[in-house]
Structure formats: C-alpha cells, structure tokens
Subunit: 295 residues, 2 copies
C-alpha cells in the first residue's frame, strides 16, 4: 500500500471514530434517526473530501484533532448531499457506496431527516470550541461552509443539474454547474484546512487554485467513469447519466479528450502547490488520486 | 388593530423585506430554487417565531436591523421544516398557509432542495458580521441554532412524531416529543434575542423559562385547533392528526382540559417575565396570542 493509501485510510478511520463517538444511539424512538445517520457515515466512502481537509490542515501544522473535526463536518455535508440526491424525487438511486441507499434501507422520510440532521450537525461541529480556540476561526469555517453548501453552491448546483436534460448546456454552463454542485464543497474542504492553519494570503490563494482545479478534474473523471465502469465496480448505478439524458464532460468532449482535460487540470493543480515544497506531497498525491482512482 | 398586531405585522414585514433583498432571482437555471425559497418565505405565515426573536431582542435594546437578521434566520429554519414536513414521504400535506404546499406548487425535488437551502441560509445569515460585531455572539447563535434544529431538537422530534402512531405515547412522552419538534426552535427564537442583547444570567433564565412554557402552550393550542377548526380557516388540512392516528394533547387530555393546560402555561410563561417590568409587555402579548390566535 502506498504512503498515500495508508494516510488516506488513517484520516478516514479517524473521522469514523469521531462519528462513532458523537452519534450515540439513545434508548428511545429517535434512535432510528441516529442509526440512519450512522448508516451512511460509517463505511464505504473513499473519504476524498475529508482527506483533503485533513491534508491541507496538516500542511499548515494544524493539530490533528482539530483537523479531524473539520474533516468530519465536510463528510457530514457530503453524506447529507448523497442521501438527498439519491431520493426517488431527485436522482432516484437505489445503490450507494456498494450497498442500498438510505431510503431503500430505511424509508424516504428517515432519509430526508437523516440528511437534514447531518447538515445541521456539520454546523454544530464547526461552531464547537474543540474545533479551534479562536472564535473568529470557527466563525470563518461556519460562514465558508454555509456559502459552499447553499443556494449559490452545492444546493444551487443540484437544482441546475436536475434541470440539465432540458438546458442544453455547453462546456461553460456545465463547468459552472459542476463548480457549484461538486467543486464548492471540495474547495471548502481545502479552505477549512487553510482557515484552521491561519494560512497567509499567498498560501490561501495557492490552496484555492489547487482546490478549484482538482474539483473540476474530479467531476470530469467521474463523468468518464460513469461511461466506463461496470455497476459492480462503481458501487452505484453506472451509465446513469446517459440514461437520464444528462450532458456530461464525457458526452460533450468524448471520453478521450475528457480524460486529457482531467489530466491537465491535475497538473495545473499540482503546479499551484510549488510554494509549499515537499511538505505538500500529500495534496499532490490526492490530486493524482482523482484521475487514478478507478482505472 | 391592537398594538401587538401592529407590532407583529411590522416585524413580519421587516423580515419579508430582508428576504426580498437577499433572495434575488438570477438570470439562470438556479432561479427555480430561489423562486421556490421565496414562495414559502414571503407570505402567509403569522410570524410568531420571528416575532418572538424580535421582541426578545428589543427588550434588551438590540439594534433593530440585527434583531431582524436573527428573526429571519429563525423564519428560514421554520419554513424549511414546514417544506420538508409537508412532503409526501413525511406528513403529506397539500396545503400550507392557505395555498398549495411547495412540492405541489413546484415538485418534490425542488421542495427538498429549497428546504436544504433555507436551512443552510440560516447559518449564513447568523455568521455574517452584520448580525453582530462580536464574533463570539454570532458563534453563540450558530451553535444554539444547530442544537435546536438538529438531531436532539427539531429533526429528532420530527423523527419521533413520524413514529408516534406506533409509540403509544403518554403525556410525558408527548411533552418530550413536542419540546424537541416545536419547542426547541421557539426557545431558540427567544434565546437569540438574549444572546444578541447580552442578557445576564437572570435575564437568560427568565427568558428560557418563558420560551419553554409558551412553546408547550403553542403545541397544545395547535392540537386543540386541529380538532376544532375547519380546513378553510386553518389554511392546512384540519383534523389530520386524528386521521393519522397520532396521539395529541387533545386526544390525551380532551380539548377542554387541554385548553386549560395551555392557559395555565401561558400564565406561567408571563410570570417568568416579572423581572423585566412593563418593558416585557410585547412578550406578554405574544404569550396570550398563543391561545387566542384562532378563537
């Protein structure tokens, strides 16, 4: 196993341990909600977003416990978005992370509420003093997450995505959609590390550029994957974009050019990290993971 | 019109103006989301929760613009909860505030996303420096809202409520459910005023006691209303609790005893306000409004 793999698994297991500790199943009727929250959180994900947060924070010498709390908030928001996106009224996906999606394992109402609770929990985690002793830093995290996840970020992007079969998006429109739907939370994950670490302007700028490029590369790679992969490998229903008549980078550019584009973006992302020297190797490997992950 | 009515309408119109300013419909496919958010926010509600926040803040001499921002965050969370609760998978209500509920006027996917975006927006509003110049106060608001709205508050309460037909709740169980589902956000509304106003321990304690009692009175009155009112007056489907086989304070106590109980709680709530003298008259009238509102 590469250093990167070991490192990623460590971060994922720390986030899982954090949630294991936080999400107790009480002896009452609300335990159904907690169990449902745990169902999606505790296994199966690759932990790309929380790892980015963790690695960016470590680059800036942030205490690991704090980095894991911010990474956990990122993972909570990511899982909430998966749960809601999978609902029958949305993307209607029965499978997620290699098992039944939450509304199939429980029911729709529980899935809606578990998503709502995970989103809310992210803000509770970030605002808690254990995340950073300085209130200005916790507040910066809350504010940045609200912007990344909300109407001008992830939720807005999902709204556009749902309408995309009728929109006839060109490459610019699709890039904008993906910056909102996928890119905003990936950017937040990296930014959270920068906030916790008190990055200076140059460092913040470099990390923001890096996050922007890998966010887009990630989505392009995902679109190519959707065309290529078999259902079993991917752990979700593959080929679904085409079935849903959605414009993707693969359908716009063709899979070959799309793959090239993702590769270029990863190179560009890595170039942003030059100011950090060798200490940014984890983030470099994370960038390469984006295009390497399922090939 | 009473002073209270004039005052309540003023607060509601200020909150509406705030959202009118904030929720611009951009020239793009995400305007569907913004329109859907506006649909529920901008009209029809009685504004009880935002008014409580506004009046508690005014009692402690908080600048009106700040009070309205906190009140708007409360209203955003309340509206999100109504939108999600009305969904077919949840309470399946076609009517809300005298018009089609959001998933009927738009569609389920848009309703899920509009709710998600309103919840997220509440945290964005509270964390913005315009809400208070001190970051510790904004952070206290964020943290208190996350706890009130999340798995141990509103969302947890809704999870229990959905299971309540099978739970055979007694009065203690039902009280606990309602403290989470309805009471937590009402308590936050009042607490937000206390946080913004820098209330001392005695003031916070008094306001918390007041909020607790009117929260429960509100729910008991609501249960009685559901039995009594005709569908047209209520603006939502009346008699629904009984149809859904839900235990309510009306079914547990009978409407007469339930009405008495609500009246007692309102008296008790008002007693908590003694330390404020006449300056708490708005909150006293708000407490009376709870049992008077539809009779």
């Amino acid at each position: 196993m590469s250093d990167f793999e070991t490192d990623r698994r460590h971060a994922v297991s720390q986030v899982a341990a954090f949630f294991d500790d936080l999400l107790h199943v009480p002896d009452g009727p609300e335990n159904r909600l907690i169990e449902a929250m745990r169902y999606t959180m505790m296994e199966g994900g690759k932990g790309f977003r929380p790892y980015l947060c963790y690695a960016a924070a470590r680059l800036l010498n942030v205490d690991e416990a704090r980095a894991i709390r911010a990474a956990a908030a990122v993972e909570a928001v990511h899982c909430y978005s998966l749960i809601h996106d999978d609902l029958p009224a949305m993307d209607d996906d029965d499978m997620r992370r290699g098992k039944a999606s939450l509304h199939m394992a429980y029911d729709e109402a529980t899935a809606i509420l578990a998503g709502d609770a995970l989103l809310t929990l992210a803000f509770e985690i970030l605002s808690h003093e254990a995340t950073h002793k300085e209130s200005t830093k916790r507040l910066a995290l809350v504010s940045a997450l609200a912007r990344a996840a909300g109407m001008q970020g992830m939720v807005g992007g999902q709204m556009i995505d749902l309408q995309s079969p009728e929109l006839d998006l060109d490459s610019g429109g699709l890039t904008r959609l993906q910056k909102m739907k996928t890119g905003a939370l990936i950017s937040f994950a990296v930014e959270a590390g920068a906030i916790l670490g008190g990055a200076d302007d140059g460092e913040r700028h470099a990390l923001a550029g890096y996050a922007h490029d890998i966010g887009l590369a990630f989505q392009i790679a995902d679109d190519v994957l959707d065309v290529d992969a078999a259902s079993a490998d991917l752990g979700k229903t593959a080929g679904k974009d085409a079935m849903d008549d959605k414009v993707t980078f693969a359908s716009l550019l063709g899979t070959e050019r799309a793959r090239d584009q993702a590769g270029l973006l990863v190179e560009q992302a890595i170039a942003h990290l030059a100011i950090f020297g060798d200490s940014a190797d984890s983030l470099r490997q994370a960038a390469e993971f984006v295009i390497r992950r399922h090939s």
